[in-house]
Symmetry: C2
């Protein structure tokens, strides 16, 4: 085992293919349904929103999907990302566990999101699309898509959840620096936004509402713009598997193999990105790594939701996806990890959770910020509040290792830095944050609006 | 020549020694003088402010100084830093030049400053000092010292130039996240601050004023605290030579050798960090690399100042340093590159400039922000406004290469990211910034206050 704390791969080791877990699922994913007919949607139904190559990836059963050279060239700006051993954190926690983290915050956009944004922009560009619309919560996704569109000289239209827009003016500025247009959501520029504002003029927004707005703008653009989603969909999760593939190689250099993989789950893409290549090893190479997703206690779609068909957005414009959901009308409290405020979860994650191939835990807000400060003081990095959920999960594992007296090897995905989230840290350090557990009755009320699928 | 765009060194290649240019100077540095007697100061004069090992480094004539293991262990958290070829920028500029950049923004503090902060904190800790005081302008230095003190479990007291304190609330928050105390300067907590505020209650501050405050607090702490400076002094520049040493190795991997090295100059440390190891090659290995420092046109100490003894601070508490200076009473306009608002410059840089071993250019603010946006759109990285001066200098060189039709190899130091500087970008994109050239009469007036040294 090396004394190094960082395990670098050469640039030639950037993966040449994405891993598509659909090839290895014990049973296929439930079909996506048309919101009107409740019949499975075909490629043509999705064509107004997505380019055909991404639609094909969405349903592909191929285990490996080639990464286009032009995308890999852009990846070279920051990939392979570092994998480090958190030796100072181990000391702080006085744990026999070996804690490793994969750091996606070195990307120009500051998070893993650029892995898929780059791919999505490129596939759209190939099909002659010159602009993309999207939503963003914490701002990580909007920043990534703004950069990706800039790299391929495309327009970018971002609907930003209003609470984040107000809490994170620097996020707006960085997207604008790359030429994107940014509108706080709900806005009066779309029917979806106006509907929400009529019901609640003070709405702080949600990812679901912002999705409705971005989808509407693309769908009514006459083919000029398409829509781009930063998580949830199969092709998005597939693009993120560069993370786990690199981590496999880096753990080999470190001379260890993880007993536990930890990642935060909002829509599911960064957790999938690190976990799925290790799941592949579990399924095909006799490994038995625990794959632990961490969601916020204030938005517990996997641990307290139901597995049912629901809309991906709030207004009900998208196809129906079978997923663990709190109901598409669910508006979580304005917790500071804005990127985790989503009522549902990626189908792939839901199906794997339903098949007991994953573990899940919900952690309250204050514990995640405490974990982030502990990590920052040990390792120097200020994590995004979303990423802090992964840290908190890893720390729980490390504490369990201490209690059990075992040297378990923990690897977590530090999916982004928190440089644009300092107002959240300010609030935490100033004692202004609190935990929030949704009362069961409210969750049940939100679920009453689930579409009835026969 | 490689097709890669990033040239990584293994962690074992982190330098084991700092390069001390004093061993190779054609003539020795002018002595530092006591502010009262105007006699050369000895180690004992500096002992109230600095630990003895740093004082010895300040005057050392040894070419190589061992990096303590404990410091190198901390360096491993982010070093070696990446060196990249900016191929997309080359295309944007349509230049035959090969443009490389060394990226120090990957450090936990976001800039090169942590290289010396870590070393300084450790040497202080070794001599039983449990706290450090300092000033910060842009906030890069304060963040670095806050982190370094945290790593070695020491107190950190930061005086932050008021204009930056107000423009950069997230900077304050990150320093506080690492446990530092942060006070806007001028403040009423010191005699120096009160003197300034009496003369100008609306003072937006300057690095010189903040230095006065931090020095006063350390000097009057009864030995409990010492003072730490983020640039200017010889030992600080020496610590930064890890940058250029790594770059030498990385350019070798890239299969090229730079014709021009570019770096921004505020106090001189990041420019020295990348340039001095290449100067060593110029002086001892027959190389002829142009070493180009870039200062802001609004604070042109090297290109418009005089080479004279002056105080390092504003109030006149520090020893006298011979340097190119605009006068210690000079208060530059509140340009957004706060880290470059210093009236003087490192003795080493001044002496090398006086000996015509360096080149210097002053670039106005608007050109630097335009360069930063061009760079960001090409390479994805939002640079600190200070670092943008290096980009602007590199772009000028690339344009000259296009005009001359030569393939010159340009290497610049991208000394930090601008994630905490988005308000400056906002102001630039909103058309609110302007250039500022100091009228000659004002510079001459500031110089009237230069101390008369016999």
């Amino acid at each position: 085992m090396s004394d190094d704390i960082r395990f670098d791969l050469p640039q030639g080791a950037i993966p040449r293919q994405w891993y598509n877990v659909q090839a290895d699922l014990p049973r296929p994913l439930p079909p996506v349904l048309h919101p009107g007919t409740h019949q499975p949607v075909g490629p043509d139904d999705l064509a107004p929103l997505f380019p055909m190559q991404l639609i094909m990836q969405e349903v592909s059963q191929d285990r490996w999907i080639d990464i286009p050279d032009e995308v890999r060239e852009i990846y070279k700006l920051w990939r392979p990302t570092p994998l480090l051993r958190a030796r100072r954190l181990e000391k702080t926690l006085d744990t026999p566990a070996h804690i490793y983290y994969k750091y996606e915050g070195v990307s120009p956009s500051g998070s893993h999101k650029l892995n898929t944004a780059t791919a999505q922009a490129w596939y759209n560009k190939q099909e002659g699309i010159n602009g993309l619309t999207t939503e963003t919560g914490a701002g990580q996704w909007g920043t990534a898509l703004a950069q990706a569109c800039n790299f391929f000289d495309m327009e970018c239209v971002v609907y930003m959840v209003r609470i984040s827009y107000e809490q994170k003016p620097y996020r707006r500025a960085i997207m604008q620096s790359f030429g994107a247009g940014v509108t706080p959501s709900p806005s009066d520029s779309t029917n979806a936004g106006r509907t929400i504002l009529e019901a609640d003029p003070e709405s702080t927004g949600s990812l679901g509402i912002a999705i409705s707005e971005a989808v509407e703008v693309a769908a009514t653009s006459g083919g000029k713009h398409k829509y781009s989603l930063g998580s949830v969909l199969n092709h998005v999760l597939t693009h993120q598997t560069v993370i786990g593939q690199e981590a496999l190689g880096q753990m080999e250099i470190a001379g260890e193999y993880p007993d536990v993989i930890v990642g935060p789950t909002g829509g599911g893409s960064n957790f999938a990105g690190i976990a799925l290549p290790f799941l592949h090893q579990n399924l095909t190479a006799g490994r038995d790594t625990k794959l632990l997703g961490v969601e916020p206690a204030a938005c517990p779609s996997l641990t307290r939701g139901v597995y049912a068909y629901d809309f991906g957005d709030t207004v009900g414009m998208t196809p129906l996806l079978k997923m663990y959901t709190l109901g598409h009308g669910f508006v979580p409290p304005p917790l500071h990890a804005g990127g985790l405020r989503y009522h549902g979860m990626a189908s792939i994650i839901c199906e794997l959770w339903d098949q007991k191939l994953l573990d899940m835990v919900a952690i309250p807000q204050l514990e995640t910020f405490a974990a982030a400060i502990t990590f920052a003081k040990a390792e120097g990095i200020i994590a995004a509040p979303e990423a802090a959920h992964g840290i908190a999960g890893a720390i729980r594992e490390a504490q369990a290792a201490r209690e059990a007296g075992d040297e378990r090897v923990i690897l977590f995905n530090l999916c982004g830095h928190g440089h644009f989230d300092m107002s959240a840290y300010d609030a935490y350090l100033g004692g202004e944050l609190s935990n929030y557990e949704y009362p069961q009755a409210e969750i049940e009320r939100a679920m009453e609006a689930l579409p009835q699928v026969g």
